[in-house]
Each structure stands twice: as C-alpha cells, then as structure tokens.
Amino acid sequence: MKASYRWLKELLPALNASAAEVAARFTHAGLEVEGTTEYGAGTESCLVVRVTGVRQHPTKSGLRLVTVDRGGGQTQEVVCGAPNVPDPGGLVVLAPLGTHLPAKNLTIAPRNIGGVTSEGMLCSESELGLSDDHGGIIVLPMGTAEPGTPLSQAVPNVRDTIFEIGLTPNRPDGLGHVGLARELAALLDIPFALPATGEIAKTADIETKSLCSIIVEDAERCPHYGAAGAVDVTIGPSPLWLKYRLQALGVRSISNVVDITNIVMLEYGHPMHAFDLDLLRPANAPRILVRRAKEGETIVTLDGVTRTLVADDLLICDGEGPVALAGVMGGESSEIRSTTKRVLFECAWFDPRGVRRTARRHAMHTESSHRFERGVDPGDVARVLDRAVALTTTLAGGAATRGRVHVQGTRVAAEPEPPARKKVRFRGRRVHDLTGVDVPFAESAAILKRLGCEIVTPDASKDEHEVLVPTHRPDIGREADLVEEVIRVHGMDSVPAELPRIRASRDVGGREELARRAKEICASVGLSEAITFSFTSGRVLEVLGAPPPAVRLENPMAEHQSVLRTTLLVGLLDAVKNARRHGERDVREYTVGPVFLAPKDPNDPLPDERLRVAFAIAGDRPAWLEKPKPFDVWDAKGYATEIARRISGRPVEVVQASRQEAPPHLHPRGAAFVHVGGERVGAFGPLHPDVVDALELDGEVLVFEMELDPFVGGAATPKFTPIPRFPASTRDIALVVKDSVRAGDVEAAVREAAGPLAEAVRLFDRFVGGQVPPGHTSLAFRVVYRSPERTLTDAEVDAAHANVVAVAQSKFGATLRA
C-alpha cells in the first residue's frame, strides 16, 4: 500500500511529526513501512513560466528556441526539443540553472546546443519523476499560476513523501488514507475526525432509484449493494491536484470520473465502480442484477480479456448480460468513455471469500479484489457514494441525482441499515495476564476508543467491559485481539524480558536426537553432510528401482520435483552429478532425512515417513602420501559397517546379496546387505552400471542406505569384559588358495581349527602374483592365542596351530606360502 504523507497531513491537521517519524511509528505498531520515496523531488526549484515566443533553432532542425516569461519581467530563451511546445501564452515548467532532478540524476547547467547556449530546461513529467510520460513537456492549464511561481506552490501535490507500507492481511482498514489517518492519530494520540464528504454543487430533479432498477439475487455474496447517480457530466481531464495525487500513489490518471472512483478508493479503502448509465441495458429501463454466473458464461473485462466463468463467480449484470465481475473488475461494455453523460456509481460489500475465490480462479489480482478479499468496511457505503457524487459535481460539472439506493437483502431504502458491530468481552487485567505489562484500564480504554471502539461498563465495580468493535476492523473478534491492540499502541518496547520457569518436557518421537547422532557419526568417519531435496521425479525412482512414489504433488514447481523420494540416494546422486559437471571427481557425502513410503493402511492419506541415512562415495579414496586410488566396494563396506555399528552399538553382519536378490540399483557383483541383530537394515555396493548411465553420473559411484528408525532408542550400551591378565602368543600363517575361495570362509575355518585358545583371527595380508600361481591368492592370517587363566606354553600353541594348517589344507586345498 502506497500512502501519501501530504494527504495524511491534510486528514490530520494536528499532525506535526516528520515523515521519518511517521514511518517509524507505523513500523513500530505493525504497519511496516518498507520504504519511503520522495515524489517529485526537484520540483521545488522548478518554475511555472509562460511561453512568449517560439522560433526554429538556427542549425538543428528538430529543436526550437522558446522564450519564456519567468515573472517579474524576466525572460529567457531555452532550447527545447519537445513536440508539444504551446503557442505563446501557454504555461510550461522551467527547471532553471542549478536545479537537480533526481529522477534523471541530472543537474541543470548551461549547455551549448548547436551554437545556442541554453540555461535551463522545459520539463516533461518523466524528468520531474511525476510519471513515466516522456512524450512531451508539461503544459499546464491556463490560469494555473502566475509566471515565476514555484511549481510546488502552484500544484502542491507534485511534491510528496510516499510510504510503501507492507500491510499484513488482517488490516484492510490500512488500505485507505482515512484508515491510516485514524491509526496514526491513535498511535500519536492526536485528534481524528472523518473527513467531510464534500458539498454537492448541483442536484438534478431526478430520483436515483428511477435511473435504474437494482435487484440482488445473491444476498449472501452481496449483502449490501449501494448506488448513486450523476447526470450531465462532462468527461475530461482531472484537475492537477487529483492527477498528481493519483500518480504519486502509482495510479494512472485517466479521466475525471474514473479518477474519482480511484481517489475515493484510496481515501476510504473501499473500491467502487462507475457505469455509463446510457450503456446499461435495456436502454429505456436499465437494470442492475447481482447474480451468480452460469457455468460457461463469458464476460469481457476492462483489460480486454474474455473470461469464462463458473457458477461460483458473482456477476453484476444489466438487463442483458454481465457488466462486471463483482469486486474484481468491471466489464468493457459499460465502462466510462469520453462521451459519457450519466453515471451510476456502485459501492457494495461483497463476501470476501467469494471475491478471493473468483480472483484466484481467474488469476486477477486487482486493487479492488485485494481490498474486498481482506474485508472492506461495510459501514461506509453511504459515505463513499456521497464522496464520489460530490467530487463528480465539482470536477465533472454534473448534477447529482436525488438520494441513494441501498439494497440489503430484501430491504431497499435510501439510507442503509448500519451493520451490526461485534461485541467483545474485555477485562482490563487480561492485558497484564497476556503481556506482563501493567496497562491501567483507563489507558487501555483510551487506546481502544482512539481506534474507534466503544466501551460499555455495565457494573463499575467489576473489571468486565463490553467493547463494540468498529466495522472497519473485521480482524478484531476476541479479547486477545483487544489486548493486542492495547499493547501495539502502548508499545511493545515496554514489555519486560523475564525468563519463564519452565517445567521441562521430554522428547516425543526421538528422531531429532537419532538424526543428530547419525550425522555426527558419518562426519566423524570422514563423510560430509549434504542436505538434499525431498522432491524428485518418478522416472529417477524407476531408474533406481526404488519403490514407486507414495506422494505425488498436485502443484509441483517442475516435473523433476513432482514426487517425494522413496530413497535418499536421489539427492546424493544429484550432488555427484553436479560435482562432476564442475570437474570435481571426488565426492564423499552423506545425508540423513526421511523417505516417503506408501502408508501401511492404504486409506491413510499420509505417507509412511521413515528416517534413513545414506552415503555416496565416488572418485579417489583419501590416503596418506600415496598415489590416489579409486574407491572400491571394500571402502563402502568399511564405511557402512562402521556407521551401522556406531549407530546401533551392536555387531554388524554383511551378507552378500545373491544375483537374484541384489537390489536393482546395485551392481550384482558387489551388492550386500547390512544386518544388525539378524535384521536387514540397509544395503551397500557399487551402483549398477545401467543406473550410472541412465543418471549420467560419468563413472562409478558406491552407495549405502540404511534405516534409522530401529535405533531410535539409542545405541546399545557396551558391556565390560575383563582385560586379559596373561600374555598372548601370536602365530602368522599364509595360505595359498584358489581365487574362488572366499577369505571369510578360510578365516572361519582357521578360527574353528585353532580351537578355544584362539582369541582372535585377523586377515592381515592378501597377495596375488609373484610366486603365487595364477588363479590363486595368498591370504595371511594372524592368530592370537591366549588363555584367561594362565600363560600358554609354546607347545600348546604349536599344537593348536598345527591343526589350523591341516584343516586349511584339507578344506580348501590350501598350500602354505613359502
């Protein structure tokens, strides 16, 4: 909402706060002034001058030399290129030497133009920042002012300070200057009175109700339709004060009658509409009918667009068809034109929800719908009509028709039934109860009165009051709303800061702590945290062989963000792809977050949100002083098992997936499941090469994804085992086996063969090539022997170890490596 400081000063004669002070006060009361602009800056030094002579520039064909009278007998000649220099006698605007025009960032200095020195400039509106019209210089109506008068004195409205107020949607009263003035008066505690609607210069001997019959079919959507009329009007330009006031507020000046409807809207915040009565049908007995649209009915709105309507849209119709989309935009057929003689003004109160639905449905956000949606004042219909008619009789030469017509349901009368005011209970102490600030009731009452409330105290001995809420404040409906008004005006700065004594609550759900732990663990093993979008596309999920989406968006921003993920890998793989596109080959990232799966109960509209952790590693493995080598599946195993072990606090088992059961997104050679306590909780492996191709990942990626919800209770508590008191004996053994023999199987056999004295068996070397025959691998194990009761003798250890060799030979055909 743009607001004029000059207008507020006119409405509040007692206002002596500066524009900056007004802005600060508004902002502090919740009407945030987001910006302030100086309209017409520079016009103070510009002068109204009279053209006394015009001649051709001696050398430049498009330019003329204009002699102007600056008043006081001073004349000067300036060069002017505008096409519309008036004949001698015409009034134009001169920016004399030294004038600074911020709109063009220009300071007027002597300029030599084709051999003629020009010491000043005749200005267009655009050069003065009054509008973006640069088609020609400003030509003022005859008699505007004596030559030499400063422009800002001749037409004060060319200079203003404009506030850009970011109104919250609960304050429709702030969408008009009267409402803003009332608010400002309340904030500054200065007097406020509603402005006069103005004298009606001339009244015609015609009854308004005889102009046109008005029928409201849908009184629910239009509880109040008011009309007034004017005849013998002459459509023409608006006077300068009106033109520049509108332009200062960002509204284009069109013609006197149209401008009147706009200025009245900006004054009261209540949109209105003007019909050319002679274009309403039937011509001999025009009619207005307020009704719902028929499905598929069309209207051409003022912007020239044909709109196809639905039955929920409310229409203003004449005897033959739609003439306006109620509360949103007028129609083309009955708009005011240059030939209009008779005008019917409409001021109505439309149901805000209905206007909003229509505006949204047709994607029309207008000044009118913006106000009606928020709820205009149902109590000012008569005032708004009177104001429009009075202005018409003074600015468009018309005569008012006699009386107004107000249709409120079945009631039709010249005066409206005033709308009921809400009655709200108010207890003075509730201000302190809710804000902690002691505001005496008398002060609260004064504040509420300044805002337009009426307060009734039935029993003076009790702190129980009734507040009648003014109709311009639809947002106030409860005691808490009144408390807010009081503290808002009293000042929130007065609220003290007190720490509450909080009775501690206990976590509900436990996922935040679980996620935090998982994130810390992943970071501690060397992975970096990614935060990935929950959105993806059905195609990507299909490529990954993930469950089909359980959540499809009805209004996605893009096709690739149209469903919610059923695997965390989508975002991580996006990160890999993006990194590689930027030339970064090495990625080690994890993410923790929910996937959105089909609900257990298919009738439940909410998905099953499951917390998971996932990582993607690609490129070279970090290493110390080594030639970089790419990550392989054993890195994925290392990260996956470490993460699972630390999250669960329990032993982790890796189960290689058979070809048949390998998850579709993983390479069948290296797909594995991670089990904790016998339950499958995750899977890791190299990405399937077809997936790498389909997602254009440009090279191998290893991934892991695991459920977190089973560990929401925290990691298992470690149990102490006694630290051995006796020394251990170690034996190393290197076995050469066929490549097809799995190291883990050999290790298990070694463990079993070594018997109860073997405390630990660890593979410490794996070697291929050299003296190891082709197709074979050398596996070296270290076996640690120990007894908890005594120191073992070499003989005992050797005996146990001899069995290891024997078993390895018989079970795997292993030979000892020399």
Binding site: R353, E498, I502, A530, P556, M557, N578
Partner: protein, 358 residues
C-alpha cells in the same frame, strides 16, 4: 544406366573392389573382440588410409558419364559400413556390460576398509540447527517430532487460518494428490503436540518445510525451528525473556532484541523480532547500520506471539486457564548471515567444495 552397357576399366575395377568389400567387412567387424579392435578394423575400411577411402579416390579416374552412378554405390556402401560398425559397437558394449555384470562376485568377506581422512564436514544448516536446539534444550524445551506431509487442518485449519483467506497467500503450499499438504511451516507440530499432550509443555520442533517459492532468497524446501511453551500465566514478557536469552547465545552477549507487532493467524498478540545487527556492531556497542541490516541497525530473525486462544481451544486447552507463546524461525537465513553465504541455492547444491568449508 543400363546394366548391359559396357563399363570403363576403371569402373569395372571399382565395382569389383566394392563387391569384395561388401562381402567381407561385417565378418571382420564381428570378429573384433574388443572396442579397440573394432575401431581398428573400422579404420581399415573408412580411415584415412582405409580401403573404401582408397576406392573413393579412384572415382576420379572413371569417365564422367559413369561417375554419378558409381559414386552413389560407393556412398551406399559407406553408409552400410557405418551402420554395421555402430551395430557391432553396440553389440560389443552389450556383451562387455553383460560380462561385467556376470563376472564372479567381489569377495565381500574381505574386511572393510575405513580410509584415513581429514574428517567430514557438517552442513551449515545442521550446524545452526544443532546450536539453536541446544540453546532451547538448555532452557528446558524438548523436541517434538512430526511429519513433513500433514493434514490441512494441522497446518492451517486448527491454527486459525480461515479458508479462502489472504493469510494463506503468505505461504504458497504444495498439495498432494491425496488432498494433504507438505507442511508450509513447523507450526503443525504445535497442533500435534497440544492435541496429544496435556499442559504444561515446552517443546521445540526443528524440521523441513516446503513452499512454492524459488529465487535467490527462497528455496522450495527449507528449514524452520518452532518453539512453544504452554503453562499457567505465560506472558509476552516470558517470550521476550526467552528471545533475549536466545539472542545472547546465538548472536553474542549483549545483542539487543526488539519486538514489532505483526500478524500471524495463530498468535495474538503477534510480533516480528529484530536483533541488533551483528555485522555493523562497533566495539562500543553502537550499530551505525550496514547493507546487511539495510542501514537500520536491526536484523529481522523470527516471528512469534502469544498462542491464539482459538488455537488453544481447537486443541482442547482452556485459554482462561492456560496461556502460551510460540516462535518460529527460518534456519537458512541464520546460516546465510552467519557464514556470509550469498545465495540460498548454494545450501542445496551440496558441492564438495562448498561443504568442505564448514
């Protein structure tokens, strides 16, 4: 041209060479066992010194009357060779892919490897999230979990958003095909908590939220933390006390806080909270203003207010007996300001060079 017409010697020789090539090239391509070998064979036909290339060069020796017809035949064969090559290449790749997939499995009984590393990094949003959660935990708040996809009534209706009201414009929402929504704020947790737990309660709800916005300062997915306290005699002064504590701990000792009245449908009175700008703060505590605070000395950080009595009633809590406050903040904004990150998009691209900075 009629076939029986006598051809020039050059033409006959070319014709013979073409026939020989046509009969032989596919066999040679198919015999290639690797992509490398296939490419070599291809080069022998169509490379610079290839057989077909050589034939093309002979074309000039044929009489002009025959050249067009022979030229066409040479070209036809050239295309045939190219198609054959593509076919063989694709077959070869399929074979290689199949061989790769069917190769003996990796021995995953070998121990896993945990590479040495300089340590991973936490995402800036997570860092902020945990700092904020920690402050509130120390004040006595606990975390209440809740879903990101929720019913309209938890996200709007019970929070006092009237249907078809412009207040919902403040949050352009994603809807699912099952007429539920992606929560547009973490305030849905207020409703879920107050419906399921009896007061007193002090909860925070950190989480992911979604709105249909996408520009330099908005992401369609972002993060918020909601905090709310419901007890007897809770006032705006308590809210301010908690905010002051929050500002001290997150923005540094002595950071001033101010409340500006504002509107959110689920609080009354409602306010926006500014903290003293941390960027232009001088050692003497003054704040002359800078571009980050738009020269006001204040930075807006969150919205808050006293929980609206309607919201309490909607959750079965008597507003005459209980009162409460709620506050909600965006984590991205805090992270962008704290770490000097210029664009919100950087937070979600997960570029390793970005993440490694935190």
């Amino acid at each position: 041209m009629a076939q029986n017409e006598a051809l020039s010697d050059a033409a006959v020789s070319i014709d013979r060479a073409l026939t020989k090539l046509r009969e032989g090239f596919m066999e040679r391509f198919r015999a290639a066992g690797t992509e490398q070998a296939l490419r070599e064979e291809y080069a022998k036909v169509l490379g610079k010194k290839g057989e077909l290339t050589a034939i093309l060069k002979e074309l000039g020796k044929t009489p002009a009357s025959e050249r067009k017809a022979i030229g066409e035949r040479v070209n036809a064969l050239k295309q045939e060779v190219e198609r054959g090559f593509e076919q063989c290449l694709s077959d070869l790749r399929k074979k290689e892919r199949l061989a790769e997939l069917e190769a003996p499995p990796f021995d995953l009984t070998l121990p896993g490897r945990l590479p040495v590393s300089d340590g991973g990094h936490r995402h800036p949003i997570s860092r902020v999230r945990e700092d904020v959660v920690s402050v509130f935990r120390q004040l006595g708040f606990a975390v209440f979990d809740g879903p990101e996809v929720d019913h309209e009534e938890n996200n709007f209706g019970l929070l006092g958003y009237p249907p078809d009201h412009p207040a919902t414009d403040m949050q352009d929402t994603f809807w699912t095909d099952k007429k539920v929504l992606l929560r547009s704020h973490t305030s849905n947790i207020q409703i879920r908590a107050m419906k399921s737990v009896k007061p007193p309660m002090a909860f925070i709800a950190p989480g992911t939220v979604y709105r249909r916005d996408d520009d330099a300062t908005h992401s369609p997915m972002f993060h918020q933390i909601e905090a709310f306290l419901v007890d007897r005699n809770v006032t705006l002064a308590h809210l301010k006390g908690v905010l002051a504590e929050f500002a001290e701990r997150i923005y540094g000792p002595g950071t001033p806080v101010r409340l500006r009245p504002s509107y959110f449908p689920f609080v009354e009175p409602g306010a926006e909270v500014d903290v003293g700008c941390v960027f232009c703060k001088k050692p003497d505590g003054t704040r002359p203003g800078c571009s980050l605070c738009k020269h006001t000395g204040w930075i807006e950080i969150l919205g808050c207010g006293m929980i609206h009595p309607v919201v309490l009633e909607n959750c079965g809590i008597d507003p005459e007996e209980w009162s409460g406050f709620a506050l909600g903040m965006g984590l991205e904004r805090i992270a962008l300001l704290r770490y000097g990150i210029p664009n919100i998009k950087l937070l979600f691209e997960n570029d390793p060079r970005f993440l490694a900075q935190f």
